[in-house]
């Protein structure tokens, strides 16, 4: 069975600030990032859908140490975001001073953009979700 939405297709769309996921024709749940099966019911009757890219902050931290080759990116805000359609995805938050983030920031509304990791000797270049507060 063909993979319903590949990483390459997801990545191409994210680079245009479009977040793709999979809508289950059986239970209606949305899966993002894509998988072979529905995240809710494990069904395989899935159609590609574009998410709104809107959501709210579930939790965050400010990263002060980076892996090899990404040292110039710190400090940056790591976040887990609950999308309006249901899925929780990992991303970064931009447009705000990391020092201004507090536990009260949790629950606030966000909208999707993207950043690009240019790749290294281990992994190829890929877009990552980057969120801004509404």
């Amino acid at each position: 069975m063909e993979y319903p939405l590949t990483w390459k297709e997801y990545d191409k769309a994210l680079r245009k600030n479009k977040l793709l996921g999979l809508k289950c024709k059986s239970c209606g749940a949305v899966t993002c990032p894509p998988k072979m099966t529905c995240d809710n019911c494990t069904g395989t009757d899935l159609e590609v859908t574009e998410l709104t890219g809107k959501g709210k902050l579930v939790t965050y931290t400010v990263m002060q140490i980076a892996p090899e080759g990404r040292e110039n990116e710190t400090p940056y805000i790591m976040a887990l975001v609950e999308l309006d359609e249901g899925p929780w995805i990992f991303g970064r938050i931009g447009g705000v001073d990391p020092g201004k983030m507090t536990i009260e920031s949790i629950g606030k509304k966000l909208r999707l953009s993207h950043s690009v990791f240019y790749g290294d000797k281990f992994s190829e270049s890929a877009a990552g979700p980057l969120f801004y507060f509404e």
């Binding site: 990483w7 997801y10 990545d11 990032p33 998988k35 995240d39 579930v58 939790t59 965050y60 931290t61 400010v62 990263m63 002060q64 140490i65 980076a66 892996p67 090899e68 080759g69 990404r70 040292e71 990116e73 940056y76 790591m78 976040a79 887990l80 609950e82 899925p87 929780w88 995805i89 990992f90 991303g91 970064r92 536990i103 949790i106 950043s115 690009v116 990791f117 290294d120 281990f122 992994s123 890929a126 877009a127 990552g128 979700p129 980057l130």
Partner: protein, 395 residues
């Protein structure tokens, strides 16, 4: 399933970067385990080796074949188990399954790692490979970052003030350093104070340097045998009563369980069920405190405390030696060290040492009674693998 026992255990001193290779470290630990078990290389029928990063730290894959050859094992099947930081526990669990199923009678299991050798930037990069390379790493996920996010989520979900979680995490780090200072195999021999933890360099708020385990080199091994062999070769069998293993995907895919780890919900239940025991029966546990918040999370998932309510117990000392449920009398990953491929076998080593009453000032007294139960908890990645094993003192 046949009854299965550990009858020998060995571990090297865990350390910062040193000169020995992954093969040499495993061979040292393995030979100690084999000598204790009264078995010779020719007696070993299979090698199950936990090994994660030698490809990057040494330019070496197929470590298991070179380990088997160095030890003089007679060209037996040797398999590398990669479950990130849980690799050695995956290897031991599989060894127990093979022996329990009657396929082999004597297996050498354990693990080895030379992670410290890589230095912090490359080690941080390769450890991040335990996250999703396509959907998480591009945005900059790291392990300390994930656990820092879980700490904040814990506060919000259960309405616990951040300051209280920070105090409990400091207490866990202080306990680890105190006990690890008493462990001759440990990496960090240094007492610390809660203020030192709270005032240290912030890695990812609310985690400071002292809330994070070090990068380590080391090896550890156990000899896993059938009941018949155990009775013939040893008067100190440590029975493997039950084990469980779970898996998981991206951190977001675990949303139903967070800040708790989805894989552990499965593995702990399976281990307790197979052993036919409950959390209150356990008298000592070696657990995966890769970051201080991880210990708060796991002690709730293992059923020692209610979810969202274990910070008070930590602050009252209920999880140290002499407390209700001593966690990590070895000093844990935080102080004993965390050579990721070897960690699960070192946890088994400590439980066996506790059963033998060898632990001096960090001895958990109830663990010396015949029939005492000990548990290990090992986590790989962001929950990609979790293994729980329940051991029983058989003498």
């Amino acid at each position: 399933m046949r009854k299965v026992a550990v009858i020998g255990a060995g571990m090297t001193k865990f350390s910062a970067a040193q000169e020995k290779t992954a093969v040499e470290l495993f061979a040292e630990a393995a030979m100690d385990a084999m000598n204790e078990a009264n078995v010779k290389p020719k007696d070993i029928q299979c090698l199950c080796l936990g090994q994660v990063l030698a490809d990057f730290s040494e330019g070496q894959c197929t470590t298991q074949g070179f380990c088997a050859d160095s030890l003089g094992l007679p060209n037996v099947p040797a398999t590398r188990y990669e479950g990130c930081c849980a690799s050695a526990s995956v290897a031991i669990r599989d060894a127990a399954v093979w022996v329990g199923a009657g396929i082999y009678d004597i297996i050498l299991a354990g693990g080895t790692e030379t992670a410290a050798k890589m230095g912090t930037p490359l080690a941080t990069r390769t450890f991040a490979m335990g996250s999703d390379a396509h959907y998480e790493y591009p945005a900059g996920v790291t392990f300390p970052g994930v656990f820092a996010m879980l700490a904040n989520l814990y506060c919000v979900k259960y309405g616990v003030p951040v300051e209280k979680v920070i105090d409990a995490m400091a207490a866990i780090a202080v306990k680890a350093h105190h006990l690890g200072n008493l462990n001759p195999h440990g990496q960090l021999h240094k007492e610390i104070t809660p203020d030192m933890v709270k005032n240290a360099f912030v890695v990812a708020h609310p985690l400071t340097l002292y809330n994070c385990c070090p990068f380590s080199d080391g090896g550890a091994a156990v000899v896993v045998v059938s009941e018949e062999i155990a009775k013939k070769l040893s008067d100190k069998p440590m029975w493997i009563l039950g084990s469980g293993q779970g898996s998981g995907g991206t951190i977001g895919s675990q949303k139903k369980y967070l800040p708790h780890i989805a894989a552990r919900e499965f593995s702990a239940k399976e281990a307790y069920s197979m052993a036919g025991v409950s959390p209150k029966d356990i008298c000592v546990a070696e657990v995966h405190d890769c970051f201080s918040i991880a210990e708060i999370i796991l002690q709730e998932q293992l059923g020692f405390f209610e979810k969202g309510k274990s910070c008070d117990a930590v602050l009252k000392g209920e999880t140290t030696v002499g407390g209700k449920i001593p966690l990590n009398p070895s000093g844990g990953l935080k102080s004993k060290g965390h050579p990721i491929g070897a960690t699960g076998a070192a946890q088994a080593y400590e439980i066996y040492d506790q059963f033998k009453g060898n632990c001096g000032p960090r001895q958990v007294e109830p663990a010396t009674k015949k029939g005492a139960l000990g548990l290990t908890d090992t986590l790989g990645g962001n929950g990609g693998a979790v293994v729980n094993i329940i051991y029983q003192k058989g003498w």
